[in-house]
């Protein structure tokens, strides 16, 4: 009993749990930023938007993993050719939803984009603040 054996589904569960904890953390962070904001302005709005998109992407991906788990193993054949690979011939709603959720980059790209814009705006705000402080000193 000292050493437990970890079989194949454990990786899936761990990953899904990670997604879940990530989602909870993001919800918690968004809640805190709402009730106890440390700042306002465009940069913080972009930052919150980034978190929202990360949350959406996380949920989206979680669903994709779940749909993937629902599909039979035969549906995922080792690709002989990336150009000709296709999803299982018998389409089901699950397979179709899986197919759609695989386009998760349409959510994670905006998330990282908003994060970048947020950081840029933070830098710009600081630069302006320093310039104004410099003018005040003069």
């Amino acid at each position: 009993m000292a050493v437990q054996v970890h079989d194949a589904p454990e990786g899936y569960y761990v990953h899904q749990m990670a997604h879940f904890s990530f989602a909870v953390a993001l919800v918690f962070l968004l809640y805190l930023l709402h009730v106890r904001p440390v700042g306002t302005g465009k940069a913080w709005r972009l930052f919150r938007l980034s978190l929202i998109f990360f949350l959406l992407w996380n949920t989206w991906t979680f669903t994709a993993h779940w749909f993937a788990d629902q599909l039979p193993r035969e549906a995922f054949t080792t690709p002989a050719s990336l150009w000709t690979n296709r999803l299982i011939p018998q389409l089901s709603p699950t397979a179709l939803l899986y197919y759609i959720t695989r386009f998760d980059h349409f959510l994670c790209l905006p998330a990282i984009w908003f994060l970048l814009q947020s950081l840029k705006t933070f830098c710009l705000d600081i630069t302006r603040k320093n310039e104004m402080a410099g003018e005040d000193h003069e």
Partner: protein, 525 residues
């Protein structure tokens, strides 16, 4: 659709999106680092860096795995990807959990930031308060400096005024402490008291300058009871023991709490005024006595003439060796003595020079007189000290009258000395006043203060009965007055040269160089 859905769009979106994610994530990481570098001390940016870093790491890890997957599959190494895939998935899971854990730190971060903000606010408030306090202190300091400067100017002005008044006053001003010792005195005070420096006076008790010690309690009592003394007349002693006649006004000095610190004293020197007043009184007395004497002399002169005439006529009727003749001779002699007295009285009272006036050399006149009386003086071991100034102009005067004045004064000096002494004679010419001064001093006993004001009174004499008529100085006074001059007497002398010669009394005869106009008219009449 029978062939299923093509996976190529998914692969393309995955591959392209992953590459784009890597670029965007690296750019975001760069900005996060830049943000921290811009404000190194900002703990919020540090947290954002960590959070962004975790998100970026996850994005890169995931995207690299996707790209690697396609590269390995396309390059014919799908089995390698099959081995790497669990690691990549596990790593992604780990990063997701890490982000979740890191997110929870926001709460602590928020508290830290809040605490920092509170501290900052508190410090800012303290800084503002300190700034205000500093500004207020600076204003106060500036105001204080201005006040001090203004007050200093006022004090300086006051000090200058006071010092000017103190130093330039011709009256004596002095300050005494509670011990009645002089703490300060002005220059006039030093001069009036006849000292060389103020230090000789400062520290001495005020009472030591009171010539009449019985007046000190009166002065002190008045000052103590009323707080001030006004117009208090007192005689002060100078350094040379001569006396000053002062009028004192003194007031106590008290601080703000009313505690007496001493007193200030202002003294006006009335010595000269007193002398002039005494002389005026004397002159008035002389005038009154002169009128009386003239009346009496006139009334007595006629009977005396008749007595003398009849006694001389009767003497011719009796033999010279007869008893009656001797009695008549005595009557004649005494009558003549009476007539001489009457004549002297008339000389004193008569307001005319009489006789012939001519230019006379004073020094020659004095030598003539001394040649007559010096033998008599020498008999009593009295010697004459002559200090006769040269180039004294001649003055118009009745020389016989002047000789009479000089003889009177030298005889008085002789009488004052008795035996063994010096009679000093000085002559001077005051060009400014055009006056000639003759000083006759003696080393005799001096004249007591209570007597000095009466010596010119007719019939006043300190000589024994029968030794003097008391008319000598009266007649001399009248003669000099008739010539437009005056006589001063000082005992002890005030003239330093005379005092240095050892004289105890000095008579100053002052005569104008030219007879006064009023006097000439009188002479003509």
């Amino acid at each position: 659709m029978s062939n299923g859905l093509p996976l190529l769009p998914i692969y393309l979106v995955d591959f392209g999106g992953s590459l784009l994610m890597i670029v965007l994530a690296l750019s975001a990481l760069r900005h996060a680092i830049r943000l921290v570098r811009m404000e190194k001390d900002n703990v919020l940016w540090t947290y954002i860096l960590w959070l962004s870093g975790a998100l970026v790491t996850f994005s890169i890890s995931r995207s690299v795995a996707h790209v690697l997957k396609y590269v390995l599959v396309l390059t014919g190494y799908p089995e390698i990807w099959s081995q790497l895939s669990p690691f990549c998935g596990g790593l992604n899971s780990l990063i997701l959990v890490s982000i979740a854990v890191l997110t929870n730190y926001y709460y602590n971060m928020h508290n830290v930031i809040k605490r920092i903000e509170e501290d900052t606010c508190s410090l800012s408030l303290a800084h503002e308060q300190l700034k205000d306090a500093h500004a207020e202190l600076r204003d106060l300091n500036l105001d204080l400096e201005q006040r001090v400067e203004k007050r200093t100017r006022q004090l300086q002005l006051s000090e200058e005024k006071f010092r000017g008044l103190f130093e330039s006053s011709k009256d004596m001003i002095l300050f005494c402490g509670l011990d009645n010792r002089i703490s300060d005195i002005n220059e006039s005070g030093r001069e009036i008291l006849g000292y060389e420096s103020r230090e000789e006076i400062i520290g001495r008790p005020l009472v030591s300058y009171f010539a009449e010690e019985e007046k000190w309690p009166l002065f002190n009592c008045g000052l103590g009871s009323q707080g001030h003394v006004k117009d208090f007349e007192v005689k002060f002693l100078r350094q040379d023991d001569t006396r000053l006649y002062l009028m004192i006004t003194a007031s106590r000095i008290a601080n703000e709490k009313g505690k007496v610190k001493g007193y200030e004293l202002i003294a006006k020197d009335l010595t000269h005024f007193k002398e002039v007043t005494d002389q005026l009184i004397q002159s008035e007395n002389m005038a009154s006595v002169g009128q009386l004497a003239a009346g009496v002399a006139h009334e007595i002169n006629t009977p005396l003439g008749i007595i003398l005439g009849y006694s001389q006529l009767l003497m011719e009727d009796f033999a010279e060796d007869s008893e009656v003749h001797e009695i008549l001779a005595t009557v004649e002699k005494q009558t003549k003595a009476c007539k001489r007295i009457v004549a002297d009285l008339l000389k004193f009272s008569r307001h005319s020079v009489g006789g012939t006036q001519a230019p006379v050399d004073i020094n020659t006149c004095i030598q003539d007189v001394l040649s007559i009386v010096e033998h008599s003086l020498n008999m009593d071991h009295i010697y004459v000290q002559r200090v006769l100034a040269e180039k004294i102009p001649e003055i118009v005067i009745n020389v016989e009258r002047l000789r009479q004045v000089l003889v009177n004064m030298i005889n008085n000096a002789h009488h004052a000395i008795g035996k063994e002494g010096i009679v000093g004679v000085w002559t001077r010419f005051n060009e400014h006043c055009q006056e000639v001064e003759i000083i006759i001093g003696d080393t005799g006993c001096g004249i007591p203060p209570e007597v000095i004001t009466r010596i010119f009174d007719p019939f006043f004499t300190t000589k024994g009965v029968g030794k003097g008529t008391g008319l000598g100085l009266s007649v001399s006074f009248g003669i000099i007055r008739d010539h437009g001059g005056y006589i001063e007497v000082h005992s002890p002398p005030v003239d330093k040269e005379v005092l240095a010669a050892g004289m105890n009394t000095a008579f100053h005869v002052i005569l104008p160089r030219e007879p006064q106009s009023g006097q000439s008219k009188e002479d003509e009449s």
